[in-house]
């Protein structure tokens, strides 16, 4: 059987969220890293500009969309965090800035 191995280091590394440094543990998703850092919203809606974060937690609802390394519309609950990731709050469609 072929399965992926985690990077296995278990060592914390740094990523940034809206410019500030955030500690991340390998194997966590972007959403889990942000929750661990006390952040619960990382998107504002297109119409109302309302804050959103995790809702379904399993990739179905698309509420947790976020911009990672300049690429918007990533589902934070699915995307594994990587060292040096630049995570930014996604405003609206994420294509406006």
């Amino acid at each position: 059987m072929k399965t992926p191995e985690g990077d296995g280091t278990g060592r914390a590394f740094e990523v940034t969220f809206d410019g500030r440094s955030v500690e991340a543990l390998p194997g966590r998703t972007v959403a889990a890293v942000l929750w661990a850092a006390g952040v619960t919203s990382w998107r504002t809606t297109r119409d109302g500009g309302r804050p959103r974060g995790v809702f379904c937690g399993i990739g179905v609802c698309f509420d947790c969309l976020v911009t990672v390394n300049g690429r918007p519309n990533q589902r934070a609950c699915l995307v594994p965090v990587r060292p040096g990731d630049v995570i930014r709050t996604q405003e609206g469609t994420g294509h406006e800035d």
């Binding site: 929750w35 661990a36 809606t45 309302r50 469609t93």
Partner: protein, 586 residues
């Protein structure tokens, strides 16, 4: 890449099927979107977190057995494959999957048989404040805990209805979170009607009751959350008692301060791939026969996709499907007597599932209580008022409401708002047909079409679309972000109309008949009209669970997913001969 059997979904059903087929000499590829097998039920911390055992895991012994069996098997496990379409042609079946986590590149997998073990997802009915950060689905809160060792807050209310609420509440409590209340809308007086079917579940229920007591979790039955409070994130919920007619009893409202709400009202099967293939549905679930075959040749289904019933039922169905596939691929008829023990588990599991479903019906009249300013469609921000206006204008079904309001046209393609739409409009919820099971970059579709055009083979013989270079940006996505791709971009096999399987309405089957499902109307990507907003201050940070500080492992009480009677004990054991058991209908 070609294989005998492609199993889509590596949860309990998919793993059981893969093992059963592989043991009989079938080449099996087991594909799943996650980074490893297990599905939602056996979700566990990523290897990098090095925290196995830190959080109570569902069915630990069963998982260990399945994991070891997989490792010793010939099953080709393919994680991070996000399947977006399965096509059938004269040469067999083609599974199209985007490779994660980037999901810019698509690969094809050819197989003689496909098992759809796509699982299910949670439903949540709308109420004021349900879009606030801090409000999560019950299963979502559990998934984040099991997979990421994080919790949505320090004080949580668990609410809604269904068997999932019990493991969510006890799981969060044993992870150190204060569970302010477990709010279940079902009337305990309904229980006696189901006692016979649920007798086997009583020890499990008693175990949960003991744990709730131990963690001092107040249980409010016949109650519901009527409102979530907060400006930029959740600060509390108002709960109220329900009367005999499922309406809020005036004067019973009370505020429970909390920084997280885990809420769920049941589950629905994932049926997108089945519907694109043309499989008949039975209500919301994929219809299967006694061998777990759908009505499309070469396509089997098992687990939650065929009806929400929990892990033990999924294991049994998967096992039966795997054995059936092994026999059928050899051109022989399987002997049902060989899987009689699994069939017995399946029959029992379906009885239990039906009883739990009857017990945990969400409150009636839910839609009437939803205020006009409450958002129903979370993606498109469509309010209950707008939906009601569409009904007033003459929309007689949820699809017309969708066309008038955009509710259900967003990223999630109506998965999250369908129950709320049904509740507010009064129209019965019907499965929505989605050509693609997930967003697909337009570049992938274009590359697939181009590849096929070049090869001159319209059906199934084109080069892998994965060979194409990924686009610079992910660009507009077919489906959620830009459904114009669905209507304007040809799929990998040419225009969508040409490759869509025939879907003859069958007598007695609620078949979607919406022309819009065939071709989604173009959707404008609206420019951001509002100025960027600062993130609201995070006054109530979610609580992190440092792995080393987690409480010791709970006693081996079986954690249960919805309607899951003890997977470790009820898993199929084909070595014990039993007489064939008559099957109940699905």
């Amino acid at each position: 890449m070609r294989t005998d059997l492609a199993v889509i979904g590596a949860g309990p059903a998919g793993i059981a099927a893969a093992l059963a087929a592989a043991r009989r000499g079938i080449r099996v590829a087991l594909v799943d979107a996650a980074t490893g097998p297990g599905g939602q039920y056996f979700r566990r911390p990523a290897p990098g977190l090095d925290a196995e055992g830190a959080v109570p895991q569902h069915g630990r012994r069963t998982w260990t057995r399945l994991r070891d069996a997989l490792a010793a098997s010939t099953v080709d496990v393919r994680p991070e494959h996000h399947v977006w379409c399965v096509e059938r042609d004269s040469g067999g079946l083609t599974v199209h999957a985007l490779l994660g986590p980037e999901q810019r590149e698509s690969v094809e997998l050819r197989a003689d048989a496909v098992l759809l073990a796509t699982g299910g997802y949670e439903t949540v009915l709308p109420f004021p404040g349900w879009t606030l950060p801090g409000v999560v689905t019950a299963g979502g809160g559990q998934a984040m805990l099991k997979g990421g060792l994080v919790t949505p807050g320090g004080t949580v209310v668990v609410a809604g209805t269904g068997p999932l609420l019990l493991p969510v509440a006890t799981g969060l409590a044993s992870a150190g979170v204060r569970v302010a209340a477990l709010v279940e809308s079902t009337d305990p007086a309904r229980l006696p009607r189901q006692t016979r079917a649920l007798a086997g579940k009583l020890p499990e229920a008693a175990g949960y009751a003991a744990r709730l007591l131990r963690h001092r979790v107040p249980v409010l039955t016949r109650h519901t959350v009527v409102r979530a409070h907060g400006v930029d994130r959740l600060t509390g919920v108002t709960v109220a008692a329900l009367d005999a007619r499922d309406r809020v009893r005036p004067g019973t409202e009370r505020l429970l301060p909390c920084d997280a709400l885990a809420v769920g009202h049941g589950m629905l099967p994932h049926t997108d791939l089945a519907e694109t293939l043309g499989c008949r549905l039975d209500g919301h679930a994929v219809a299967v026969d006694a061998e777990q075959r759908t009505d499309v040749p070469g396509v089997w289904a098992a687990g939650e996709a065929t009806g929400i019933g929990g892990a033990a039922l999924a294991l049994a169905e998967g096992h039966i499907a795997g054995r059936s596939i092994a026999a059928r691929l050899r051109g022989t008829a399987p002997d049902p007597a060989a899987w009689a023990p699994a069939a017995k588990v399946r029959a029992r599991g379906r009885t239990v599932a039906a009883a739990l479903h009857a017990l945990h019906t969400p409150p009636a009249h839910w839609g009437e209580g939803v205020p006009d300013d409450t958002v129903i469609c979370r993606c498109e921000e469509v309010t209950a008022g707008a939906v009601r206006e569409a009904v007033t204008l003459g929309a007689g079904d949820t699809r017309t409401v969708k066309l008038l309001t955009r509710a259900g046209m967003g990223w999630c393609q109506g998965r999250m708002c369908a129950p709320g739409m049904a509740a507010v409009t009064g129209c019965p919820p019907t499965p929505t047909r989605r050509p693609f099971a997930r967003p697909v970059p337009l570049g992938v579709l274009a590359a697939g079409h181009e590849g096929r055009s070049r090869s001159g083979a319209p059906d199934g013989a084109g080069p892998s679309v994965g060979a194409a270079a990924p686009p610079e940006d992910e660009g507009p996505q077919a489906g959620p972000a830009g459904p114009q791709g669905v209507s304007e971009s040809p799929g990998p096999h040419g225009p969508a109309e040409e490759r869509r399987p025939h879907r003859e309405p069958r007598p007695g089957t609620p078949t979607p008949s919406d022309p819009t499902a065939q071709q989604l109307p173009p959707q404008e990507l609206r420019p951001q009209e509002l100025p960027p907003q600062e993130l609201p201050p995070q006054e109530l940070p979610p609580q992190e669970l440092p792995p080393q500080e987690l409480p010791p492992q709970e006693p081996p009480l079986q954690e249960g997913a919805p309607a899951s009677p003890r997977p470790s004990e009820s898993a199929p054991r084909p070595t014990r001969p039993h007489p064939p058991t008559p099957e109940g209908s699905p």
